[in-house]
């Protein structure tokens, strides 16, 4: 049986140590008087802990033992591509560790060379002409992409204020489009979960700037009409945007550029092995083809005898302050070298093989349903457990919690929005057949238990550090506690902390 550690660990701010320090500050004997202007002088040190190095280390080690990562167990999170992060990547991230982003270009030729190579490699695997690795994450790449589309249409002196988004899209697509000032128009999918061409035809007008699409889509299905879709969008000179979150399912098999996409973003923390870091940092890329390349965010690296940083002619500007998350770009650099052309060509194949193997293993699990079961999935699959919920009261949420109890991380749930009680599963190419078998077995057993004794499922998890959390208390304005400071103030009730101006 799987069990997670539980330490009744106080908050670091609750430790009672006084007069201690966990790090020695270097001192130089220098006669300099401190003359900070009185008006902005801080009178006393901030209210931080006073602890020794051991106290701090032990505290965070205990917290780490109450956490779960890919190195702990399988994380079949749909659309998140939680693949194994090879350890050699950690050495790779040290290459530019002590280099400053504003150093003279002559002094950082090694860093620039690595960026240049990554730009070339990512352009090659996506079928694009040029990449900018300036974006720190996927949605930042999307923002860059939609801003590029906006600037392009402006340059063409057109008013294009609508951005089309598939109804199966990741939430970031409409959010990014809105940030760039577009009105979002949803394109409804057909009964098989694919873009409905007839619906699309009606939506494509002279007001449309472009279409944001994921292929394979969030159902794990390949949009087989992609050529017609591209033709339609290009018929009004719209921009076809590729959300690269799902690239893992087709990496090495088919390229967005060849499908007719104009701009692509990549999540290097999904497809290219960068660890997720508990939610970040990731790393991103935004790549473009033909007329769109000159709009990419700057700087990008070019080779002119030496490696140089340049600004594309009509660049939209900067998405992050310096060169993006370089330390993570280096991690993906090592990942690509470790696979080579041969290995990369197997990623889409092996990740999709794992998905379809798992589907096969889950055939006939009671209460689990699949839309368009005759279609092969790619990197991920979405099951609906609506039937299970109706017949036993056990929801997708409960299934997720029951998986935690069995040592598996939960799949993505209640997404995409067009599937009720959705479980979105992505095994990735790095989980073994044996693990896939165990995972399928766990789901089967959860389903059987749901029909026999649903209460044991709806009361899970019990093997994790804590049980289900009170979300009402967590979110209600009267009890909302986002920091220890607010906790103290609410406990004291001495100060009114909800100041409305």
């Amino acid at each position: 049986m799987w069990r997670q550690a539980y330490w009744n660990e106080p908050l670091i701010t609750e430790y009672k140590g006084r007069g201690r320090q966990g790090f020695l500050i270097p001192k130089e004997e220098i006669e300099i008087e401190i003359n900070v202007p009185e008006k902005v002088k801080r009178e006393d040190g901030p209210n931080l802990p006073e602890l020794s190095e051991l106290e701090v280390v032990r505290h965070f080690i205990r917290l780490s033992q109450m956490s779960f990562g890919v190195d702990t167990g399988m994380m079949p999170l749909g659309s998140c591509t939680m693949k194994y992060n090879p350890k050699i990547e950690e050495e790779s991230s040290k290459v530019g560790e002590n280099t400053h982003p504003l150093q003279d270009e002559e002094t950082v030729q090694g860093n620039l060379e690595a960026i240049y190579e990554m730009q070339r490699w990512l352009a090659e695997v996506t079928g694009m002409d040029e990449c900018s690795l300036q974006v720190p994450a996927g949605s930042a790449g999307e923002l860059a992409g939609v801003l590029m589309a906006r600037k392009y249409h402006r340059d063409m002196s057109r008013k294009r204020n609508e951005m089309l988004v598939a109804d199966t899209a990741h939430g970031t697509n409409p959010a990014s489009a809105a940030m760039a000032g577009f009105t979002v128009i949803y394109v409804k999918s057909n009964s098989e979960g694919l873009v409905d061409l007839d619906v699309l035809k009606e939506t494509v007008t002279e007001r449309v700037a472009g279409f944001m699409l994921t292929n394979p889509n969030t159902m794990g299905l390949f949009e087989e009409n992609i050529k017609e879709i591209a033709k339609l969008i290009h018929s009004i000179d719209g921009i076809l945007y590729y959300d690269g979150a799902n690239l893992n399912g087709i990496l090495g098999i088919v390229r967005p550029g060849d499908m007719g996409f104009d701009i692509v973003h990549l999540n290097l923390h999904k497809t290219f092995g960068v660890p997720h870091g508990g939610g970040g940092p990731g790393a991103g890329a935004v790549c473009a083809k033909g007329k769109m390349a000159k709009y990419l965010p700057y700087p990008i690296v070019t080779k002119n005898g030496k490696y140089e940083l340049i600004k594309p002619e009509r660049s939209i500007g900067k998405i992050s302050v310096f060169h993006g998350n370089f330390g993570n770009l280096m991690r993906s650099y090592a990942y690509v070298l470790g696979l080579g052309s041969e290995g990369i060509s197997m990623i889409g194949r092996m990740s999709s093989l794992a998905t379809n193997y798992l589907i096969s293993k889950l055939k006939g699990v009671r209460g689990f349903e699949l839309i368009a079961p005759h279609r092969f999935r790619k990197h991920e699959v979405v099951f609906s457990v609506k039937k299970l919920a109706n017949e036993t009261g056990v929801t997708a949420f409960d299934v997720a919690k029951a998986l935690l109890d069995r040592g598996f991380y939960a799949p993505t749930i209640y997404f995409p929005p067009n599937v009720e009680e959705a479980l979105m599963i992505e095994p990735t190419e790095t989980e073994t057949v044996e693990t896939l078998d165990q995972f399928a077995q766990a789901l089967k057993e959860i389903s059987e238990t749901a029909y026999k004794n649903p209460a044991t499922i709806t009361s899970s998890p019990i093997n994790t550090s804590v049980g289900r959390l009170d979300q009402v208390k967590a979110n209600h304005p009267s009890s909302l506690t986002p920091t220890y400071r607010v906790y103290r103030a609410k406990a004291d009730m001495k100060e009114d902390i909800n100041i409305e101006r």
Partner: protein, 447 residues
Amino acid sequence: MNTHPWLPNLSRVQDMLKEIGIEELDEIFNDVPKDLVIRHGLKVGKEKPLSEDEIRGRLSQLSESNAKLRYPPFLGAGAYPHSVPSAVKFILSRSEFYTAYTPYQPEVNQGLLQALFEYQSLMAELLDMDVVNSSHYDWGGSLAEAVLMGYRVNGRKKVLVPESINPYHEEVVRTWVDGREIEIKKIPLADDGKLNLDFLSKVDPSEISSIYVQQPNFFGVIESEIEYVTDWARKNGVISIIGVTPLSLGLLKSPGELGFDIAVGDGQELGIPLNFGGPYSGILATRMDMKLVRQMPGRIVGMTEDVNKKRGFTLVLQTREQFARREKATSNITTNEALIALANAVYLSLLGKSGIRELAKEIYKRSHYAAREMERAELGKLKWRSDFFEEFTFVFKSNYNRIFQALLDRGIHGGLKLTENEALFCVTEVHTREAIDEAIRIMKEVS
């Protein structure tokens, strides 16, 4: 390919195909138009997978192509060389943290959630603010989001930023807010290198959405008349935003004490190496005013309890986020910089109340020592007589390019060139007196 350490099922393909009921692996892709399928070998990496030693070899080549500097560079401008405690690196390398996902499943990620709550809490103490999100990309991104928050609160479309804003941050803000067609206006510089506050009497405050102050400003100068700005903003319904370097807060009044609505900055100073510009971490904090909190982008961890009344932590106010609100979300941000926030939490816990103050004093002293000695060596003059922290703008008597090159020839990277004879120098606790003295000797030789 029949074996690879990261592709464990290569040896089991046939068994798996049999289970699925197909003959060929590529049948899975029968819905991909045939003419689109890649028929050539992709030019990516090297042809063959490289072994760890081969990868290491390539990494050494790249490292060799970078200049070997003898001391940390005298460069700041938004990225600062500081010492990174071993304990920070050690904690960050814990697999349970660094290979974790966003903690949407709180029961199995209490440790990570508590650590992020602690980051928020420690940062709140440093800033004297109530609510801190669990990180944004970097300072520029945080500032852009703060401007967008202000716009959503009062619907106005003009933003005031100082002439002395970090230009790299400004560039990010301009890019991000372009879609909302927000206009950025500059508050000029006064003769002492500080904000020219007379300018505020010349604007129509009813048009201004937010006002931004950077402390210390891009040129290193400490702004002293800040409370005037917050008073002015409060009177006119303008959102006040301050950008700070976190270590300066060991010595300087906090955003909260000065009365700001929003504080931004970068967590890089707190336990993160230079990394050639990233990953860093955007700090974004606000007062416990629900009007502002509801507009806060990104993730926030909150305290609650579990079914057994044990204390527990979970992500809160998720209805603000993209996966719930789509085009109506406060931001599109998803992946953030959580691991960097964790580093900040460990760093602040290690240094603590006394350490952060001691370090700020040491940085102050060393930067002032360098400036004083550069003047004594008659290399030129400080551009302003105003007090500064960590960075200072120096006007050389002669052309800075030559001076810079002379330093570089001796393995020392000088300050950031601003004009033909002006440079921005950054001096912190990693610059020994010996390094400073040597740099000055070399500069003296060529000027």
